[in-house]
Amino acid sequence: MNKNLKEQVLRSSGVNVLKCMRCGKCSGTCPSYDEMEYHPHQFVYMVERGDIETLMNSKSIYKCLTCFACVDRCPRNVEPAKVVEAVRLAAVRQQGNNHMTPAQIPEMLDDDLPQQAVVTAFRKYIK
């Protein structure tokens, strides 16, 4: 268990994983469920156990659509999508510290990129 990684994920997501009561509604509601190796409820539980590296090495972190259905429906307000995003962020940061600056964003936007993708990307950081 990597304590620093767990701390980083908890801090960047702002989520208290201990609020989870293991009902599985997030995974019951997830439209990407079948695409994912680890499912939303497992993200929450594995972060609680500190098993972050397994999640970082899984393709699951790129399968979350950020549709926020799990955030909307979680009866305990755990916000699993933010946990997934935090793990994805941890993976990105480890790949060579390639932080983006706001100035770089406009040149990366191309016409084929759906507006929705940009908007949801920002939604993930609101807490």
Binding site: C23, K25, G28, T29, A69, C74, P75
Partner: protein, 663 residues
Amino acid sequence: MQKIGVFVCHCGTNIAATVDVKAVAEALGHEPGVVISRDYQYMCSESGQNLVKNAIKEHKLTGIVVCSCSPRMHENTFRKAAASVGLNPYLVEIANIREQCSWIHKDIATATEKAIILGKAAVAKVHLNAPLTAGESPVAKRALVIGGGIAGIQTALDIAEAGFDVDIVEKNPTIGGKMAQIDKTFPTLDCAACILTPKMVEASQNEHITIHSFSEVTDVKGFVGNFTVTIKKKARYVDETKCTGCGLCTEKCPMKKVPNEFNMGLDNRTAIYIPFAQAVPKVATIDPNYCMMLKNGKCGVCSKVCSVGAIDYKQEDRFIEQKYGAIVVATGFNPINLDKYDEFAYNQCPDVVTSLELERLMNAAGPNGGTLLRPSDKTHPHKIVFVQCVGSRCDDSKGKPYCSKICCMYTAKHAMLIREKYPDTEVYVFYIDVRTPGKNFDEFYRRAVEQYNVHYIKGMVGKVTPRSDGKIEVQASDLLADEQLHIDADLVVLAAAIEPDKTARPLATMLTTQMDTNDFFTEAHPKLRPVESATAGIFLSGACQGPKDIPETVAQASAAAAKAIGLLVKNSITCNPCVAHSDELMCNGCSSCEKVCPYGAITYIDKEFRMPDRTTAVRRVASVNPAVCQGCGACTVACPSGAMDLNGFSNSQIMAEVDAICK
């Protein structure tokens, strides 16, 4: 000359571990007027009390200060000890050095300093204490039960059994409450109506019980033993004394499209109606929102067919006033509104129902005569999905934070009944935890799984989608199989959380009783006084205090009755002598105190006074009824001229305490 004794308790290590009790006793021994200062391991023990008693006798003490736990715990103990050796009990002061000192501090030096200050304040106060004598007030030998469900009925029957008169106030046209709507009961599967309706009849025939149906409590005045309650008897437009309950009017009424609340709106009733066949009282009621005669004066059919002339379109709300010694609250519960749960499609699809709606769908007196049919197309459902914890155990704005307690068991009951009656039906229950603490409860749930082959799946339903082919797609997680399930269901049943009835909160305000953040009434002590409210003379019965099943409700109802009877058998009760009084020479007659008094204890009188120039003048001054005053002190704070003062907590005593603390 005052001779004051100080007694510092160790309370085992509760106080002594954080407070240097010897230092406290030593320091307080030097306070003015203190002639003896002692510490002891357990001051409340018999030998501790003897220490206090002997000191009072030996030193002829004029007042004592006990530095110990909260006065709520042992003030009475030490007052009794003082009284037994001839010291007026109101010359005893408690300095709370446990709850307000040792328990909340970690540092010994700080805690000891604070304990000494609290002790000094108590010594300063006891210097000004005056002996007080408690008066007595009579007890009205009549009880009021608010709510006519199984809780209210059981409480009323038990109080009547003891020979006291009881009034039941029920807001609906009939008593019976939620239990009357339930089909079968767990864990025995006996018919709810079969065991409830005999009790309803018993209540209506008991000479000691008066049922005020279709009525509400609108005002409560007074105090324990002496409540004055105003009851609004809502106009039902039918003379209760004449109506025989023949039901001819309900057959002939042309307005037949009124949602039937008894069947949870799953079928219709007429504008004039009797809620169900075994209603008590069996009297018709006209619904003014739908009656065409009351709305636009055109119809009058019921009045024409009524052979006894019971219909009275001009009837108005009536108010009656009655005196009671005790009040029992039994306002019950309701399932929460599921409008906000879009994911379960409750508002979009008639075949997504709540558990209480399912009770009516399965009941012989329900909309389908007891055959389980889908509300949409009246076909037999072959695949039924139950969703547990809908709105319970939630930390969001939509639901309730608590477990509703009854859902696991009634869902097992529903699943079992359906599998028994319709073996070709597949039943799925999605659960987070199955909670079955109770006699024969877990066995009951295991029977649903093992004998009836109900599919219990650990997981939650995420989404319910009604489809155009009439099926309902249920998307859920099966956590043990690590799979997302898609079930094409015919019927979805939601175990909605339960919440206190909406009438409970305004009632709590009228009764000056406490509620928790969920609007459940708060008991006086969560373990040792579970059926009393913190307000004397107000008792709690049933689900108004917290989620409960029927056996627990009945047990609490009988317990509340026993407590009420214990009060009603007394001819008088001892009053609290710490009541307010007004200094008439200072009172300027402004009415501020009268306005803030929650008990209606203050009235204004015109009184003649001799003026300095030997003339007489009539002045308006406040007068406190000591039997009604509860000593809350609101008037002493409101009084702008300082005329109002509270016995035992006078302004000068409070100021002496503050001075001692600030010295």
